[in-house]
Symmetry: C2
Subunit: 163 residues, 2 copies
Amino acid sequence: MDSELTHSAQDYLEAIFLLADRQGLTRVKEVADRLDVKKPSVVSAIKALQKKGLVVHQHYGCLELTSEGEELAKDIHRRHQVLFRFLHHILGVKAETAETDACRLEHHISPQTLALLIKFVEFTETYPERDKTPKWLDSFQRFAATGEAPPCLDRASGECRCK
Amino acid sequence: MDSELTHSAQDYLEAIFLLADRQGLTRVKEVADRLDVKKPSVVSAIKALQKKGLVVHQHYGCLELTSEGEELAKDIHRRHQVLFRFLHHILGVKAETAETDACRLEHHISPQTLALLIKFVEFTETYPERDKTPKWLDSFQRFAATGEAPPCLDRASGECRCK
DNA sequence: GAAAAAAGTTAGCCCTGGGTAACTTAATTG
DNA sequence: CAATTAAGTTACCCAGGGCTAACTTTTTTC
């Protein structure tokens, strides 16, 4: 059993996971629309996932993840979410762009980088206070938006004026 | 003239740029070794770059970027560098991994994200003082390395203890 | 300067992952 | 329940981008 998933296989897996209704079912058409590909592309991608035992699909019927497929999909989605939060909440990339970038980046990131990115997102979301934007991030966002030096800093000396 | 460069074309362009000696010349072999591909792959990639007027290459001879090719290569490399600095200096990804990740990520990032990432790197490298690690980054790096809450923060309250 | 080694090239293969056209099955509706 | 429409499928095709094997040219070296 070839356990390696291609990039596109991961996209399909994640999409099926996200589209599943309460009964865990979705449809070829849904997947095609979501990923912006044509139905035959979905069908052939699903054949591959089926062969690996990650998806169940009877002819002309619904799609369903196996439990193994669901585990993988959750993992893929977790990665995706971290990237999205980093891009959108920290860098300030607009939601739509962050979404598509996250989608493309998630396949090209090493485990080490992912782990550190998770820590980075966790760090900024947790300190100094949960769900409160840290001062430095606030400074950065102002800087990014206006090009202004951080408000509590003197540009010339680089010294903090608000000790 | 098809002006769009494929991902791999960008890699080749950047590699040629970085390998060029003082006379701006390099060799198929060099490129192949650097990108970890075989020579025939280089040859066919170069044919495409040649057709777009980005590279000059005579049979059995040296490779050289045209000025247009060099402009593009510099731009590609700038992107690469920003990513590397973000990954290595900010997140703390080890240099080797940061290098390969940067190489892979650079093709999958939107202009908006790149622009913000540049600002982010610039911000952390400039404030509060040029080339001095900001306090928050220091906190993050300790947190990433040890899992400890930032030293100047009380984890329970989230309040800063060192006002 | 001839023989060996290294570099470059060509031809042809393979896999990924998209697409269209044409067909079949299922669902909807008058 | 027959006709229409929508969904799913199949059989192709195409481009990107790598590879190997075999050949040619250039460079080295004895």
